[in-house]
C-alpha cells in the first residue's frame, strides 16, 4: 500500500501555509514531517485524516494505493491516527477499547483471540479487564497503538505521539511503534518537533513556508 501526496497545497484566506508538497511513501516507510510552529504540520495531518475544516483551501491530491482520498469521508479512509494524548475511551475497559477497533464479521472467539495476541505482543497479557484509568502512561500509549493497528489501517498518522512520555519510556516506545509499523508494512506519516524522534531509515519531509 503506497501513499502519495501530490503537489499538495493548503491555504487560509488565499495565504498558502507551505510550498506545494510532494511525498511518496512505500509500505512500511515512515515519513517525518518537521517544520517550525505554525508551518501547517497539524493542518497537513487534518487534510490527510479528513478532519480539515472547509475554510482551508486545498489543492493537489492525496492518494492511497492510487486512489484519491479527498472525497472520502473520515470514517471510510481507513487512516489510523495517534495523537500526543492517547485518547483511550475512558468509559470502556482495555478489551472494549480494542474490540471497538476490530473489523466487523468476526465471531466472539476470533475477537478474543486477536485481542489476546495483540496484548501479548505488547507485553500486556491479562490486561483485558483493566480500567484504562489504572494504566501507566507507557501502557496507555501501547494500548492506543494496538487499538489503531487492530482497525487494520491503510495509513497511520502520528501527531507528536511521543511528546507526553517520560524520557526513559520515550525511546523504548518509539522503537516499538516503528518496528510494528515496519513489520505490518503500513506507510506512516509523523509530525514532530524533536529531531530525535525521526527513525534512522525514515524519510525527512520539511515543510517550507511559502515566503521561504
Amino acid at each position: 500500500m503506497a501513499f502519495d501526496i501530490e503537489q499538495l497545497s493548503l491555504a487560509l484566506n488565499h495565504s498558502p501555509l507551505f510550498q506545494p508538497l510532494t511525498v511518496h511513501l512505500e509500505p512500511g516507510q515512515i515519513g517525518t514531517v518537521m517544520g517550525p510552529s505554525g508551518s501547517g504540520k497539524s493542518t497537513l495531518l487534518a487534510a490527510i485524516s479528513g478532519t480539515l475544516p472547509p475554510v482551508f483551501e486545498l489543492g493537489g491530491d492525496i492518494r492511497l494505493n492510487g486512489q484519491s482520498l479527498l472525497s472520502v469521508p473520515i470514517e471510510h479512509r481507513q487512516v489510523g491516527i495517534l495523537f500526543q494524548d492517547d485518547l483511550l475511551f475512558p468509559h470502556l475497559n482495555v478489551y472494549q477499547n480494542l474490540v471497538f477497533a476490530l473489523p466487523g464479521g468476526l465471531n466472539r472467539a476470533q475477537k478474543r483471540e486477536r485481542i489476546a495476541s495483540a496484548l501479548a505482543s505488547a507485553g500486556l497479557a491479562d490486561f483485558e479487564r483493566r480500567d484504562v484509568a489504572t494504566l501507566s502512561g507507557g501502557q496507555r500509549a501501547r494500548i492506543s497503538l494496538l487499538r489503531t493497528l487492530l482497525a487494520e489501517p491503510r495509513l497511520i498518522l502520528l501527531d507528536e505521539p511521543f511528546s507526553k512520555l517520560d524520557q526513559h519510556l520515550r525511546g523504548q516506545f518509539r522503537d516499538w511503534v516503528f518496528s510494528r509499523i515496519i513489520e505490518l508494512g503500513i506507510p506512516a506519516l509523523m509530525v514532530t518537533h524533536d529531531p530525535a524522534d525521526r527513525p534512522v531509515q525514515g524519510r525527512l519531509i520539511t515543510l517550507e513556508t511559502s515566503d521561504a
Binding site: 475554510v55 470514517e75 489510523g80 475511551f89 468509559h91 477497533a101 480500567d131 484504562v132
Partner: protein, 569 residues
C-alpha cells in the same frame, strides 16, 4: 443522512419554544387593548387598562409584586455573593455543592407549603416556642405567613433562588481562577473581601446576568408560590391577573390581559434598570480597586454567611420534616410538638386520589424531558458540525434567545397562547400540554447540557470514526457513552422542571388536566393540612427520585471506570 438533518434541530428547538411565547404575547396584547372577538369585543381601546386601574387593589398588587419580586431577587443575589465570598473555595463548599442538586429539585410549591407549616401562627416554630416558654396557649393572631407585606413570600422566593444562583455561579467559577486571584490579591496585601468585590464579582456577575434576570422575571410574576405564601387581599399582580382570567365574568379577561401585560412591562423595565445600573456599579468597583487602600478590618464574612446558611438549611430541613409529620398526623392539636396519634390514614387513602394526577405528571414530565433532550442534543451536534465547518464558531449569542421564555413572565403569554389554541380548536389536548411544558423544559435542558456537551473532546469522535468506520456507532458508543452523567442529570432536570409547572397546566388544560402540582396548589388554599402535606411530599419526591435514578445509573455505569467516577455534571 442524520448529518443532513442536523441543521433542522436548532430551528425546531427555537420553533418549539418561541412560537408559544410570541403567539401568546400577541394573543394577550390584543385583549389588553380591547380586541377579543370571542367575546364580541372588536374595537381597539384603552378601556381594559382603565378598568384595571379602577379595579380594587391594583395599585397595592403592583407595589407588592415589585417589592417581593425585586426584593427577593436582590436578597438571593446578595446571599449568593456572601456565601461565595465566605466559603469558596473550601472543603465545606464542596460539601455544599453536593447538596445543591437535591435542594434544587425541591419544587417551589412544595417548599412554600412546608415553610407555611413551619412559620404560620399555628406552625411548628410557634409550637416550639409554646412548649419551651409556656406561651402562647393558643395560636396567636400574627400574620407570619401570607402576610399583607409579602414578607413570607419574599422569604420563600429568596430561599428558593439562592441555590439556583449558586449552581449557576459554580458553572462559571472554575474559569475565573478564584484561588489564584485571591492568592495574588493577598500577595499584594488585599483581604479576600476586597479581591472578591473588585476583581472576581464584576466578572462573575457578567456570567450570572442572564440567570439573575430569569430569577427577577420569575419572582415578579410567580403565581403558585404567591397563591400559597403571598398576601391575599389584595394579592400580587400575577395572582390578580390569574383570577381575572379565570373569573366567571368573561369580560374580566380584558383587564386581566392588561394586568398580565403590565407585569411584562414592569419586568422589562426592571431588567433595563438593572442593566443600566451595571455600568455605574462597575465604575464604583474600579474606583474601589484603584484607591490603593488595604483595610485591616476583618469583615467576618463567614459569620455573616452562616447567618444565611444556617437558617436556610433549617428552613429546607424543617419544612421537609414538618411535611412528613403532617402527612402522618391523626390529630395534631396546638401546642403539641408531635401529632397525637400518628396515623397513616392519609397515605393509605392517597393512591385512589393520587393515581391519575401522578400518571399525568409522570407521562407529561418524561415526554417533555425526552423530547427536549433529543432536540437539544441535535442542536448541540449541529454546533459541532458548524464548528468543524468554521473553526471558532460559537453560539453564545443564542443564549439570550434560549433565556427568552425564562425572562418573559409566564402569565404575560400563557393566556394568549390558550386563546390561540382554543381558536385553532387545539385546547385541552395532552400533546399541547407537553408542548406548553417544553417551553420551559427546553431552556433548562439546553443550559444544563450545553456546558458538558461542548466540553467533550471531539478528537475522541475522530478516533472513533477512524477505528470503526461508523458514524452512528461512534456517536452512541463513544460520545454518548462518555456523557451518561450529564445526559441523565439533564433528563432529571427537564423532568423536575415539568413536574413543577403550575400555570401552563392550568391555562393549557383549561381545568381538564390535574397534575400533582396543580392539586397541591389548589389544596393549599384549603384547610386539609394532611392532604396538602401528602401532595407536597409526592411533588417533592418525584424530581428527587429522578435525580437519584439518573445519578445512580451513571454511578453504576461507570463503577469500573475511575476517570469518570468523580466527573461533575
Amino acid at each position: 443522512m442524520i448529518t443532513r438533518l442536523l441543521p433542522w434541530f436548532p430551528r425546531l428547538l427555537l420553533l418549539a419554544f418561541l412560537t408559544p411565547v410570541l403567539v401568546g404575547l400577541a394573543g394577550t396584547w390584543l385583549p389588553a387593548f380591547g380586541w377579543f372577538p370571542a367575546l364580541e369585543q372588536r374595537s381597539l381601546s384603552l378601556a381594559p387598562w382603565l378598568e384595571l386601574l379602577h379595579y380594587p387593589g391594583t395599585g397595592t398588587a403592583l407595589r407588592l409584586s415589585v417589592l417581593t419580586g425585586l426584593g427577593s431577587s436582590l436578597l438571593a443575589l446578595g446571599a449568593t455573593l456572601l456565601i461565595l465570598m465566605a466559603f469558596y473555595p473550601s472543603r465545606g463548599f464542596r460539601r455544599l455543592e453536593k447538596l445543591l442538586a437535591p435542594i434544587l429539585s425541591v419544587p417551589h410549591a412544595a417548599f412554600a407549603i412546608g415553610i407555611g407549616f413551619l412559620v404560620a401562627p399555628s406552625g411548628w416554630l410557634v409550637r416550639w416556642l409554646a412548649v419551651l416558654t409556656g406561651w402562647p396557649e393558643y395560636p396567636p393572631n400574627w400574620m407570619t405567613f401570607k402576610d399583607p407585606y409579602g414578607l413570607s413570600l419574599m422569604l420563600v422566593l429568596a430561599l428558593k433562588e439562592i441555590p439556583f444562583l449558586l449552581f449557576m455561579a459554580l458553572a462559571s467559577l472554575p474559569a475565573l481562577k478564584v484561588e489564584k486571584t485571591l492568592w495574588l490579591g493577598a500577595s499584594l496585601g488585599y483581604r479576600p473581601g476586597k479581591v472578591w468585590l473588585t476583581l472576581i464579582w464584576p466578572v462573575l456577575y457578567g456570567r450570572l446576568r442572564l440567570p439573575f434576570y430569569a430569577v427577577v422575571a420569575f419572582s415578579l410574576s410567580v403565581v403558585d408560590i404567591a397563591l400559597i405564601a403571598g398576601p391575599t387581599a389584595p394579592p400580587t399582580l400575577a395572582v390578580m391577573a390569574t383570577r381575572l382570567f379565570n373569573d366567571p365574568d368573561l369580560l374580566l379577561r380584558l383587564p386581566g390581559a392588561a394586568a398580565a401585560t403590565t407585569l411584562l412591562l414592569v419586568t422589562v423595565l426592571s431588567l433595563a434598570i438593572l442593566y443600566y445600573l451595571e455600568r455605574p456599579l462597575r465604575w464604583l468597583c474600579l474606583r474601589l480597586l484603584s484607591n490603593g487602600k488595604r483595610p485591616r478590618l476583618r469583615l467576618g464574612l463567614r459569620i455573616w454567611a452562616s447567618l444565611v446558611l444556617i437558617p436556610g438549611t433549617f428552613f429546607y430541613l424543617g419544612s421537609l420534616l414538618v411535611l412528613i409529620l403532617w402527612s402522618f398526623a391523626g390529630q395534631w392539636r396546638f401546642p403539641g410538638l408531635w401529632p397525637d396519634p400518628f396515623s397513616s390514614r392519609t397515605w393509605v387513602s392517597a393512591p385512589e386520589r393520587l393515581l391519575d394526577p401522578l400518571w399525568l405528571t409522570l407521562s407529561t414530565g418524561l415526554s417533555a424531558a425526552v423530547i427536549a433532550l433529543v432536540l437539544v442534543i441535535g442542536a448541540l451536534e449541529n454546533e459541532v458540525r458548524l464548528r468543524q465547518l468554521k473553526p471558532g464558531f460559537t453560539a453564545q449569542r443564542l443564549l439570550w434567545v434560549v433565556y427568552l421564555p425564562l425572562l418573559v413572565p409566564q402569565i404575560a403569554f400563557l393566556f394568549g397562547f390558550q386563546v390561540s389554541l382554543a381558536w385553532l380548536e387545539l385546547g385541552g389536548r395532552w400533546w399541547v400540554l407537553v408542548w406548553s411544558h417544553l417551553v420551559f423544559v427546553l431552556p433548562y435542558t439546553f443550559l444544563t447540557l450545553s456546558g458538558p456537551y461542548r466540553a467533550y473532546d471531539e478528537r475522541y469522535t475522530w478516533v472513533g470514526l477512524s477505528l470503526s468506520g461508523h458514524r452512528l456507532a461512534t456517536f452512541w458508543r463513544i460520545k454518548l457513552g462518555q456523557l451518561w452523567r450529564p445526559l441523565g442529570y439533564t433528563l432529571a432536570t427537564g423532568f423536575a422542571v415539568s413536574v413543577a409547572q403550575y400555570l401552563p397546566t392550568l391555562f393549557i388544560g383549561g381545568g381538564r388536566f390535574a397534575t400533582i402540582t396543580t392539586e397541591a396548589v389548589s389544596l393549599a388554599s384549603g384547610s386539609n393540612r394532611r392532604s396538602m402535606a401528602v401532595y407536597a411530599l409526592v411533588q417533592q419526591l418525584l424530581p428527587l427520585i429522578g435525580f437519584a435514578l439518573a445519578l445512580s445509573l451513571a454511578a453504576w455505569r461507570y463503577r469500573h471506570h475511575r476517570a469518570l467516577q468523580q466527573s461533575q455534571t
